[in-house]
């Protein structure tokens, strides 16, 4: 597992599981992207936005940021998977109330960067991301599901 690389971006911590350069174009809203700023390369989805609205022009996006207004709001997990399932290979960032104990699930759903609003202890994060060797189900990460390990 790649060690998360913490980048300081002007006060806010950005944890990245990617090695490419941080995309520096500001993210526009979904409405703006669909209507006006059609050249944008970064979009921010609110929890209730329909991720599928991005699919027709997914190829032009380098970054999609998905907002978690509270850690209890799990809609962003589905948004992330929908984008990965459609082949999105750019940076998928979880932003907002992102807590260390949610990160492993987020990673499985395809997130590869995190902008938590409160700092995350790197030791706790490392332990949390490497806790489980295997997973029961196939998801949007590269993990091979246990049933596949059992049956080849």
């Amino acid at each position: 597992m790649a060690d998360p690389d913490a980048t300081d971006t002007g006060g806010e911590t950005l944890l990245r599981l990617r090695t490419d350069e941080v995309h520096d174009e500001p993210a526009v809203t979904l409405d703006a992207f669909l209507d006006g700023q059609t050249n944008a390369t970064a979009v921010r989805l609110e929890a209730g936005d329909d991720a599928r609205a991005l699919l027709p022009r997914l190829g032009q996006l380098a970054l999609v940021e998905i907002s978690f207004p509270t850690f209890r709001d799990g809609r962003g997990y589905s948004s992330a998977r929908i984008l990965r399932e459609a082949g999105f290979a750019g940076e998928l960032r979880a932003a907002g109330d992102v807590l260390v104990d949610q990160l492993p699930h987020m990673r499985r759903c395809g997130f590869d960067s995190f902008a938590p609003q409160a700092p995350i202890d790197p030791d706790v994060l490392r332990a949390s991301l490497s806790r489980y060797d295997h997973h029961y189900q196939r998801a949007a990460d590269a993990a091979v599901p246990i049933w596949k390990l059992r049956h080849g």
Partner: protein, 542 residues
């Protein structure tokens, strides 16, 4: 019975360590209670009125004697010597210390048990038919499918922060012994053209807005089942309401957009999801099914000596035919007159474990009516089993009778309660203690909830009782005509509520009326459905 392999074991072991770490961070003040709460809930740990309560999963209600003994051990060592079996086939311990929980989970893990997802807004323990593998009317044993779903739903990364809790039941018989139609998703296994598959029902539930589920798919093959469920859950995760906790269950989504629109969205999602290869190969269901192979049952049928009337009554009331001639299914009642429905002492749990090991192919089941089943008993052993149960106070012959009451913990334990459920249950059972009288009344399912959240399934009771708060005093509403079985229906409120003693009197007037107007062969529920509410209302309120 399912046996863990190294992967299953490593999952629960890792979970214990994860939770140990989370508890330590909480105790060290590195996490707020608000942040800790969903984490502990996903491990079945609730904060109740007086202490923490730990809910341990009994997947699809099946366990062996070793696991049962572990529950007795936990009750003795970490609780006050009791366990409480629940309506979702789990067990709860009501007097737990937070600091002990990692050790309890570690002990449970040594016998392939856990508390994973017994609470929280995730997919809960999968429930099933307590007679699975023993009933003559099943098309297949539903438990291998339930185990497949257990694994699929365990730490599901997308569905761990759903709008609300999510309950799934799997059955495989026309007789519904698991209240399948009152689950968020109900699965009925059926056969079509020689192939096994599932009929899918969505949107049932109790709570403050009870609803019966809708049939969403009449057949989905085994090889598509998990994809289909992913689609069902994804539509809910995206569009279920999150603005109001009381409108967040999937039943409300179906109610608001309609079953047809929900089905359309699921089918659309299913097309997308099916391409992802989420379904395990047939070999995985076969691997699991092999572990549920029927035990070798070779006993010959016997003619039992019925000269002891107590034994004869118990045989008639608590023993059901097994699909294998010469065998029987025994239900051990945890509804002792004057006791707490679903409670068992550590010693009683040990006795039941011993009986299972000796007489029931080492298997026990927990029922959603909060009783325990010995599923594979030779007829010839019934006298010895009854004798042992009698000695430990577990031979109550009241299965499906008025004193076989489902009751939630209520105000004695639960912080949300409006009223006490347990004392009402005790008073009703005591009023109707005479077994002859109970048997005269026949099948009568009575269910009590201490508040509108309906953990005691009052909507599904032939007679239901709901505790409410009326100007600061406990008040009880009476409902008639509900059913959680294949003839599913929701009970209706009779009228103004009663005091604790008043509701017991009202029930007696209802049962008297029933005896007066019933036609031959009618259960209470049948009579109610034929004559309607009016005659009962008159009897109650005059």
């Amino acid at each position: 019975m399912y046996k863990y392999d190294e992967y299953d074991q490593s999952m629960v072991d890792a979970r214990v360590e994860e939770f140990r770490d989370q508890v330590q961070r909480r105790l060290a003040g590195q996490m707020t209670e608000d942040q800790f709460k969903p984490l502990r809930l996903m491990n079945g740990l609730y904060l109740q009125l007086h202490a923490y309560m730990l809910r341990v999963a009994v997947p699809y209600g099946t366990l062996d004697s070793r696991q049962m003994r572990m529950l007795a051990h936990v009750a003795r060592k970490y609780d006050r010597g009791y366990g409480h079996f629940t309506t979702r086939q789990n067990i709860q311990f009501n007097w737990i210390k937070l600091a002990d929980t990692p050790d309890i989970l570690a002990e449970l893990a040594t016998v392939e048990m856990h508390a994973i997802q017994t609470s929280g807004n995730c997919i809960r323990n999968i429930s099933s038919d307590q007679f699975a593998g023993a009933a003559a009317d099943e098309v297949t044993d539903p438990r291998p499918w339930a185990e497949l779903l257990r694994q699929w739903s365990t730490f599901h990364p997308e569905f761990t922060y759903l709008p609300r809790k999510f309950k799934i039941a799997v059955i495989a018989a026309p007789e519904d012994r698991a209240a399948m139609r009152l689950h968020d998703i109900g699965i009925e296994l059926t056969e079509r053209d020689g192939r096994l598959g599932a009929k899918i029902f969505v949107g049932g539930g109790m709570g403050r807005t009870p609803m019966i589920s809708h049939e969403i798919r009449d057949f989905i093959g085994a090889d598509d089942l998990l994809s289909y469920l992913e689609a069902c859950l994804r539509v809910y995760n995206r569009y279920g309401r999150r603005d109001n906790i009381y409108k967040a269950r999937i039943k409300i989504l179906l109610h608001e957009i309609g079953a047809d629109e929900y089905r359309r969205q699921v089918e659309e999602e299913f097309v997308a999801v099916k391409a992802l290869g989420l379904d395990p190969p047939a070999a995985e269901l076969e691997r699991i099914t092999a572990m549920f192979a029927p035990p070798p049952l070779t006993a010959e049928p016997v003619e039992l000596d019925r000269s002891d009337p107590d034994f004869a009554v118990w045989l008639d009331q608590n023993v059901r035919p097994h699909k294998q001639p010469g065998h029987a299914i025994v239900t051990i009642s945890l509804k002792l007159i004057g006791g707490i429905p679903g409670d068992a002492s550590a010693d009683q749990i040990d006795v039941m474990a011993d009986l299972a090991e000796r007489y029931s192919a080492d298997e026990l089941r927990v029922t959603h009516a909060q009783n325990i089943v010995l599923p594979h008993v030779a007829q010839a052993d019934l006298p010895a089993i009854w004798q042992a149960l009698t000695e430990t106070g577990l031979a109550e012959a009241n299965l499906d009778l008025i004193s076989d009451i489902i009751a939630c913990p209520g105000l004695d334990y639960c912080a949300l309660a409006n009223a006490r459920s347990i004392p009402v249950a005790q008073k009703i059972a005591t009023r109707f203690a005479d077994l002859g009288r109970q048997r005269e009344l026949g099948e009568l399912k009575l269910k009590i909830s201490g508040c509108i959240n309906a953990c005691g399934h009052h909507h599904a009771g032939h007679i239901g009782i709901l505790g409410v708060d009326r100007k600061g005093t406990e008040n009880f509403q009476l409902l008639l005509g509900g059913s959680g079985a294949e003839d599913v229906s929701l009970g209706k409120i009779t009228g103004p509520g009663f005091s604790e003693d008043g509701v017991v009197d009202a029930i007696e007037r209802v049962t008297d009326k029933y005896l007066e107007v019933r036609e031959s062969g009618e259960r209470f529920l049948d009579t109610y459905r034929r004559v309607g509410m009016e005659p009962f209302k008159e009897a109650i309120y005059g």
